[in-house]
Amino acid sequence: MDTDGKADAGLLERSRRIKTAAELGLARSSRGRHWSRALLLRRRLLISKEETTTTTRAAVEVEKLGVEDEPEEKMLQARVRTLQRLVPGGEEIMEAERLFEETADYIEALQEQVSAMRALACLLHGFQRTRGGS
């Protein structure tokens, strides 16, 4: 895994590792989804997130939501592209419909992860308080 060098390198580093681990956990728990595969790939190859946003091959390929080329459609396009960037693996999704599916699933998983992490944080902080921790 990517747990190499979990050095005691300060809060930021630790938090980053935690986040990585959280993402991996999240991805593993929802195996079948495109975004989870993308997350795993991303982590495994240690590709920075910003890299994927610069690929032009698919970023423009999201099919048009509407038939007309009104300015609103262009705005919609922009938003859809933003969503693509947000959802891991979104750039590879060509159809808006698929993108929305993945987004829905990703949102669910994120919510679960947030609540789990929150619970964990509360638990551990509670321990700290109880134990009179540092």
């Binding site: 747990t3 979990k6 681990a21 993402e23 956990g25 038939v67 929305f100 992490m117 619970a119 638990l123």
Partner: protein
């Protein structure tokens, strides 16, 4: 070619429409004649007619003849469009409408079989279907239903078959939305798909219709997303909804980052011996993800040897950097992770003196280690309802 308007009427009352509809349709006819003077003969019709006639099982010309006989000539998109709008609003047509339609039994029969309302006959079902129809509207993609399903209940019927004929004409994926009877979709279309129809100002060629079908699928997904994102249901307009969704995703991602930072700040001083008491006592915030029973800690999982282990571990200078993996991981996996973590880089924490959360890789008590990590994992599992 003109699909008969009676297609929509294919209920028991063989094609009766109210005078209003007839008027409207005649109005449409006139416009139609102005716009497409030559399109009334079946040969001039685009191939879309073929689907309909195939539907009818009649040759195009014969169908056209039937229609011509009835004098109720319908079908082009532009006309429908024109006629649609007025039909939309004010008419509350009774279900039994006067006949301006072919009374040809064959035609009506076939239309009945393939129509939206075939075998339905009841206003309830048709209105039920009609309520679903508004979803097809793509002008306000998210707003369709509130436009008075009651109103559409009656008008929609005529609208429906108008659209039905329209879509027949253009050979789109024409299937009745939620048609209950087994009218296998007319074009042999595999999906029991949305009843695609033309709206004002939109073309009806195959391409646009396919696109519109796709767009409706997209709108369905969008609805799903709306339900998922809190506070999104009230928003109308695709762009705003998308904004909201993007905002939500970003918020969640930021929350994850923030929480990971918070977790990183947690000093991993966990006293296993008192873990059970703590969990049973102060399990308020932890019940977020738990089942109805809240945190369930089985004291039997914490036998005395755990305490003994904890004590023993205290003496060992190695410390275990907690890799706070969210508990979605399988126990086996997380076990591996933790073991690997501990083995690879057990580091001294900033305040290593009395850290109670210890792991000694050098102490190759393999039985103990898995046991311990399993216990830890189990505790957290239970805490977080895994």
């Amino acid at each position: 070619m003109e699909p008969p308007r009676s297609s929509g009427v294919g209920i028991d009352n063989s094609g009766e429409y109210s005078p209003e509809i007839a008027e409207t349709l005649r109005f449409e006819e006139e416009i139609q004649s102005l716009i497409h003077p030559s399109s009334f003969d079946g040969s001039a019709a685009p191939t879309g007619g073929g689907s309909f006639t195939a539907l009818l099982g009649l040759p195009a010309n014969q169908a056209v003849e039937l229609l011509h006989d009835s004098g109720a000539r319908e079908p082009l998109a532009s006309r429908i469009r024109v006629g649609e709008h007025p039909v939309h609003r004010p008419f509350h047509l009774p279900l039994d409408c006067s006949s301006a339609f072919p009374s040809n039994a064959t035609l009506v029969d076939r239309a009945a079989r393939f129509s939206v309302f075939a075998a339905e006959g009841s206003p309830a079902s048709s209105s039920g279907r009609l309520k679903a129809e508004p979803q097809d509207s793509d002008s306000p993609p998210l707003d369709p239903i509130p436009t008075g399903p009651a109103k559409r209940k009656d008008t929609g019927r005529s609208k429906c078959d108008v659209r039905l004929s329209l879509s027949f004409k253009s050979q789109a994926k024409v299937t009745a939305k939620k048609s209950k009877n087994a009218e296998e979709n007319t074009d042999g279309d595999k999906l029991p798909y949305v009843h695609v129809r033309a709206r004002r100002g939109q073309a009806t060629d195959n391409h646009s219709l396919a696109e519109r079908a796709r767009r409706e699928k997209i709108n369905a997904r969008m609805k799903l997303l709306q339900e998922l994102v809190p506070g999104c249901s009230k928003i109308t307009g695709t762009a705003l909804v998308l904004d909201e969704i993007i905002n939500h995703v970003q918020t969640l991602q930021r929350q994850v980052e923030f929480l990971s930072m918070r977790l990183a700040a947690v000093n991993p001083r966990i006293d296993f011996s008192s873990l059970d008491s703590y969990l049973s006592a102060e399990c308020g915030p932890v019940t977020v993800r738990n089942g109805p029973g809240g945190v369930v800690v089985d004291p039997s999982l914490w036998p005395t040897d755990a305490t003994a282990e904890a004590t023993r571990r205290l003496l060992v200078p190695q410390f275990w950097h907690i890799d706070l993996v969210p508990p979605q991981l399988q126990p086996q996996q997380s076990l591996t992770t933790w073991e690997r973590d501990g083995a690879a880089h057990s580091q001294l924490l900033p305040n290593p003196t009395t850290s109670l959360f210890l792991y000694d890789p050098a102490n190759s008590g393999d039985t103990n280690v898995p046991h311990r990590t399993a216990k830890l994992k189990t505790a957290e599992d239970r805490a977080l309802n895994l």
